[in-house]
């Protein structure tokens, strides 16, 4: 479930995602007009509030807000001063495309970019050694330069 604070002043729906507010008491700022509301939730039910608390500082911002009566204008997560960022991602960064890398975090070469020259032989068979100098001479050169600059570490 997800409770809401529907601000009647600016007609904005502020969404309270369940886990943060399941058992929660505090003040939230409306993402539309900035009015501060006090709520007290127990077991996901609104026990008290929302009550206006003019002039008081909010404890938290809503995660998301929209205005359904005004063409569903959205205030997305992470809008500065209005909503808090959505940090609940499995990863920090999502690119949505292949992230090609040539070097590991310690600076040694990895074979993780495309396109690469075909290297399989008969029926897809591969050798046991990545002959980096021969197959990817530019990466080998780049590696040597990194080494010279001291960018290659043991850990």
């Amino acid at each position: 479930m997800c409770d809401i604070i529907w601000c009647k002043k600016c007609d904005t729906v502020n969404y309270l995602d369940p886990f943060n507010f399941w058992n929660w008491e505090g003040k939230i700022k409306c993402a539309g007009c900035g009015t501060v509301y006090y709520i007290h939730m127990i077991q996901g039910h609104m026990y008290r509030g929302p009550e206006e608390r003019p002039g008081e500082e909010p404890d938290i911002l809503p995660l998301y807000a929209d205005k359904p009566n005004q063409g569903y204008e959205k205030i997305l997560p992470g809008t500065p001063g209005k909503t808090r960022p959505y940090n609940c991602l499995p990863r920090e960064i999502y690119l949505g495309r292949a992230d090609h890398r040539k070097f590991s975090i310690r600076g040694y070469p990895m074979r993780a970019w495309a396109p690469q020259p075909p290297s399989a032989g008969i029926a897809g068979s591969h050798g046991f050694k990545w002959d980096i100098e021969k197959l990817s001479p530019e990466v080998w050169q780049e590696f040597l330069e990194k080494k010279k600059k001291g960018e290659v570490k043991d850990w």
Binding site: R97, D99, S104, Y108, A112, P118, A120, G121, I122, S125
Partner: protein, 470 residues
């Protein structure tokens, strides 16, 4: 030896008494370092040399059962579907992780990182073994192998005439493993996933916080039941190998993943049997000990980090102080001696209401402190406190580095690789586990196995390849 020829003990080399022998021994720490010698595994022999295994497996659960054998020295032939490979190579995480070009014919399709640690040290061939043309090749491999692990729906290999009933006729010493969801019985057609194992075994019902605390049944983020069940299959295989040494006969091992996961319920099932009590979730606390749980602190150890996993999440500490003296000290540290007066007896503080009050007081005390501050204060007070580590901190942990648990290895095909799995499974002084390579591209060892081991001519291999049979 005659009495007069015997050299008196005083003149013999070595210690002269038990006390001297003990005094000559190197400290235990040095002894361990010397006998285990992390990093020099390759100079030692392997335990399972001479064992050859066939792996018709996919994803994590059954591949890991075989990977354990390969890490201990068995020669494993992983058989994948032509052009496709193990589906696990296509996953985890989606989109971004371009671990290696999947196939020369699809150079822009990246391979995921999910199959890492599942198929270590194995030879990778391709074969569509359900095709009639490849049956004889499959049987030839069976004749030369000690066993096979597969993960298809129950009865599939039987339909394809390659189940234990058929294979024991051509190799009576053959050990056959089926691993999957439910096995024979009312849910024979049920497939298997890790989350299914955790749910159906009742494990998820006792994991996470109770709804009263805003919690729900929780599955582990990683596929821990896949890894666990796979290892339990390896235990069964080693027992079967031992049995075969005594009797000369093979075995069929039928391994249901959901069945295996019930073992993790601990005393839950016997408890129900005796009293009819259904065990509840108790989250990061402990039903038997208090204080013995994970608390949240107010400040992160990385307040300026960009990554929210560090900036917001590095706030949890495991605290243990359940003995009377420790609990008394903890109450003193957090300036709540009243709690000690109230809950002096172990059984009083392990009650649910007491735990709510005690952990609440602890978290209030930690509200203005960072995780490392809490750990420092409690450790200096002689109490057990450890931060809840994330991947970065596991990587940076000197403990894991010194013991070789986490290490960098230059994989012969994929290049620089941070590895943990092989070396996290215990140290063996004489025959340690090792990783030669993590996995190989689809069909990488077709020539090695079909030509060099089974003796088929190259022209035959090329023909199979063109027909999509391998």
């Amino acid at each position: 030896m005659l009495e007069k020829e015997r050299i008196p003990i005083e003149e013999q080399p070595g210690p002269k008494s038990k006390e001297e022998l003990d005094a000559n021994k190197v400290p235990f720490e040095e002894y361990c370092k010397k006998v285990f010698d992390p990093g020099n595994e390759f100079e030692k022999p392997v335990a399972l040399k001479g064992v050859r295994w066939m792996s018709c497996t996919m994803y994590v659960f059954t591949p890991h059962a075989v990977s354990n054998l390969a890490e201990l020295g068995a020669e494993v032939v992983k058989i994948e579907m032509p052009r496709m490979g193990d589906p696990m190579k296509h996953t985890s995480p989606f989109n971004e992780c371009y671990y290696y070009p999947l196939h020369d014919e699809r150079p822009m399709t990246g391979q995921g990182i999910g199959c890492i640690n599942c198929n270590v040290n194995e030879y990778f061939i391709t074969m569509d073994y359900h095709r009639e043309e490849m049956k004889e090749v499959f049987y030839r491999l069976v004749r030369m192998s000690d066993g096979l692990t597969e993960c298809y729906r129950p009865g599939t290999f039987d339909r394809w005439k390659q189940s234990y009933r058929y294979l024991q006729e051509i190799n009576p010493r053959f050990i056959y493993v089926w691993g999957g969801g439910f096995g024979y019985g009312p849910k024979v057609f049920g497939g298997s996933y890790d989350i299914l194992g955790q749910a159906h075994a009742g494990l998820a019902s006792v994991t996470g916080f109770h709804e009263d605390f805003g919690g729900h049944p929780v599955k582990h983020t990683n596929w821990c039941i896949d890894w666990y069940s796979g290892t339990m299959i390896t235990v069964a295989i080693l027992a079967a190998l031992y049995w075969r040494r005594k009797t000369g006969l093979g075995t069929m091992i039928e391994f249901s993943q959901v069945q295996c996961a019930t073992r993790c319920l601990g005393y839950g099932v016997p408890l129900y049997g005796r009293f009819g009590i259904v065990r509840q979730r108790w989250g990061n606390w402990d039903t038997q000990l208090c204080v013995h749980g994970i608390i949240i602190c107010g400040k992160s150890d990385y307040p300026d980090a960009k990554n929210p996993q560090l900036r917001d999440e590095a706030r949890y500490v495991m605290v243990s102080a359940f003995q009377d003296d420790d609990f008394k000290e903890l109450c003193k540290v957090i300036k709540r001696e009243d709690l000690w007066k109230k809950y002096q007896k172990f059984k009083d503080r392990v009650e649910a209401e007491a735990q709510v009050e005690i952990y609440d007081a602890l978290e209030k005390w930690a509200a203005d402190k960072s995780r490392s501050e809490v750990v420092k204060i409690l450790t200096e007070a002689g109490l057990l406190a450890m931060p809840v580590y994330n991947d970065k901190e596991v990587y940076e942990s000197p403990h894991y580095r010194e013991r070789g648990t986490i290490r960098w290895q230059f994989d012969p095909i994929f290049g620089d690789q941070l590895v943990q799995s092989t070396y996290s499974c215990g140290l063996l002084s004489k025959t340690p586990r090792r990783k030669y390579w993590d996995f190989r591209p689809v069909g990488a060892d077709n020539v090695k196995i079909y030509h060099e081991m089974l003796g088929y001519p190259i022209s035959q291999i090329e023909e199979w390849y063109k027909k999509g049979l391998i």
